[in-house]
Symmetry: C2
Subunit: 467 residues, 2 copies
């Protein structure tokens, strides 16, 4: 995979790096193994030639200037919790870890804004903001992730129905271009019609256009307490058709998840904890926010009526904090539960939410045709479907799984969807992008990449092929 | 201003255009005068060589291919209601009017999505969506604007506190590249982490990157009725400081406007209608949505308490629909009222909302220094300040006004703001962009422009200079 055109991290380069950030924040040889991978299923680890841990934006700029000079590939890295290999240094070179740039620079309570360095851990950011009486509502599931990584992948999560995804909370960025210039985009404002929106272009570009060093985030006032309704249906179609009906009731749930029997059974077995009302084919898990118990009861009553009208079998409202936590934990245990069954591939297609049931049914049929089993769960409220291909872990099955994945992606795109709803493409899903983007769009994106990165050193081999 | 390098619309070109869209939808000579201008204050009209009115995307593609071949500049145009000259054909060439592409292609009630052609008029779109029981909440003020123009300028308006701006409702686009290829971006989903966000890059680019032919818009369920609180304060600082305190109360107003005595006096004089509680130095006009009268009274009570705690003199809640309409109409009459005083320049800076009072005070001082009078009003909830420079309309004053504008922009940027919050730069404000974007950012944006538009034929002379 290594391109012969790239420069190597020679002793000369290491000396120059040490001059920029100091020798103690450079790792080469032993210790680099922690930077060979992220949390992507079955991705091949790749050793970096050197890991650098700058402490400030000027150092990042210096590193990028040096990398430009020597044409050395640079892989930016937050906490390394990504699921599509965005932080794997597939061409070796420099891993630029932002772990030390983890300060919350400012929480501005007049403008409801937080300015955080890219390496700030989501958990810390949440807490710091809460301490000032404000709130950052995005919850992509992994609270040890860095905010820079969240922005780079445009992380989503379970609260998108009400709050959208990470990019909707990014008002501005400080970023270092591949050639070393520091750019500031956006600001402490929601409205802006001043030239091109570089903020939203760099957000979601998975470190291929620039190194994000700091983000300006929009905050909200603290929402009410979060409550859950757990609603069994006789078919997934019934469950999916209920979603727009709930939204038409002037109720805006935080999120609406769908769950199927096979996954709940696997999870019950994995955790040893019973899930209430189990045994039905499909469920909605509806999360709402309410200022007080009265408001919640009124919302629950209205949602319950809609669900029953649309064919729900029953409505379960956990009566205690413990019961609520158990339900949420069951949802969060899907991945390890399914992983135990021999997981070959996982993906997170997004389709128009009305197509979720068609997508799941179609995907299962495709998997069966390939001799595999597909399990699906995900975000019924926003059409983001997580699916897993399970079978015994053999080389033959691995090949089948790749082919099956391509077929499922094709179907998702034909339903009006796209390859990834929240994980990003990284190197793990990059090859499938042409299924969702025709030649004109691919070429345009490559020209945009070159407009940022003339030497193709910025996280090369991610998102777009570099031919 | 005409570049000698551009091709001319010769008879040969006209014949080729007629082959693409038919002779009856081409205007040259008489009738083109309606396409020489938009609604920008004091912009110099420029005649196009030809106006074409395609009816479908394939025709737009054909026109752009032809324009590429002959290197003819193309100015896309919606309803021509822009305020910064984005639709003025400053290099002559082709005006590509989207007025006939005004269909609502689809209203999808399961996915809460509307697909509208770029020329669809905002008023029609609002009504069509309402007829299906859904709602498009953006209200930039000019309901005869086209949705394509709204997207191209990222139009804002008075509801940004709750709903954000146009780009926040754009899920996807159909657009024609300057070289004629049709690209589709985004889709009927909120979540997407599949390569670069071309939707948000093209949105707000004022027709300089591509011709938007159709937009996929996010819709919401119908909100409650809209009510107003009109609150006088003893100083603008007091009014501005009240805004975050309201938002901390878990109340999300649709919008919060600020108004000053000078503008209200001019408006009263202009309309001949009395404004309630007049005579105080500054006001907040707070717009909220409520499901019923009880909910509104509760919200009004909470907002009222915050305002009084922060120094409000009184709280006025219009008791009838007529009183409510009068207040809103007064707000909408600011522009003609001030225009009567001899308006030399207008602009719509955005600053962090905590800086609105400092910006207005500073701006007035700068105007006084230049021998002019500055009046300001605007969106206290989102920091978007509209200001007008008034004085007798002489050549000497026009020069002063330009200098004054630059000084005010500089101050806005120094407060953390930007040149335009919602009108765009077009050709009217383009020259000021370097005040908000340093060399690295300017050069990056120019490279992005070239990645889309290698021949610089797509609305040249707007947003960015083309050196």
């Amino acid at each position: 995979m290594k391109s012969p055109d790239y420069g190597k991290v020679t002793e000369e380069v290491k000396t120059a790096l040490a001059e920029i950030i100091g020798a103690k924040d450079i790792i080469s040889g032993e210790g680099t193994e922690n930077y060979e991978h992220d949390e992507t299923l079955k991705a091949v680890p790749c050793p970096p030639e050197v890991v650098v841990k700058p402490d400030n934006t000027a150092s990042v700029s210096g590193i990028m200037k040096l990398a430009s000079q020597y044409k050395i590939p640079v892989t930016p890295r937050g906490s390394g919790t990504g699921l599509s290999g965005g932080a794997i240094p597939i061409h070796g070179g420099i891993v630029l870890s932002l772990e030390r740039m983890n300060r919350i620079r400012e929480i501005d309570t007049a403008n409801f804004v937080c300015v955080a360095e890219a390496g700030a851990v989501l958990n810390d950011l949440h807490q710091a903001v809460l301490d000032k009486g404000l709130y950052y509502p995005l919850y992509p599931g992994e609270m040890t992730a860095s905010i820079g990584g969240n922005v780079a992948t445009n992380a989503g999560g379970m609260r998108a129905v009400k709050y959208g995804v990470t990019r909707h909370f990014v008002l501005g960025l400080e970023a270092v271009l591949p050639t070393g210039e520091v750019v500031h985009t956006g600001g402490k404002f929601v409205k802006c019609s001043t030239a091109y929106d570089l903020t939203q272009l760099i957000a979601g570009s998975e470190g291929t256009l620039a190194v994000i060093t700091s983000v300006i985030l929009r905050l909200i006032s603290q929402p009410g307490s979060r409550e859950i309704l757990f609603v069994p249906f006789r078919t997934l179609q019934d469950a999916v058709r209920t979603v727009p009906e709930i939204l038409k009731e002037k109720i805006l749930p935080v999120g609406i998840e769908f769950l199927e029997k096979d996954i709940l059974d696997a999870t019950e077995k994995f955790t040893g904890k019973e899930i209430p009302l189990s045994g039905y084919p499909a469920y909605l898990m509806i999360m709402v926010e309410a200022d007080d118990q009265d408001q919640f009861l009124s919302i629950a009553d209205r949602i319950g009526k809609v669900c029953l009208r649309m064919g729900a079998v029953d409505i379960f409202v956990p009566g205690s904090e413990r019961a609520k936590r158990n339900l949420l934990e069951a949802r969060e245990k899907f991945y390890p539960a399914l992983r135990q069954l021999g997981m070959l591939e996982m993906a997170d297609v997004v389709v128009p939410r009305s197509c979720v049931a068609d997508f799941v049914e179609g995907g299962k049929a495709i998997a069966t045709k390939h001799g595999l089993v597909m399990h699906a769960s995900g975000h019924a409220g926003d059409g983001n479907v997580h699916f897993h291909l399970n079978a015994e872990d053999t080389e033959a099955n691995a090949i089948k799984a790749k082919e099956c994945l391509a077929d499922i992606f094709k179907m998702g795109v034909s339903l009006g969807g796209s390859i990834s709803g929240e994980h990003g493409l990284g190197c793990a899903k990059m090859e499938y992008l042409p299924l969702a983007a025709d030649k004109a769009k691919m070429e345009l994106m490559k020209r945009i990449k070159r407009a940022f990165d003339p030497f193709n050193i910025m996280n090369p081999g991610k998102v777009l092929t570099s031919d």
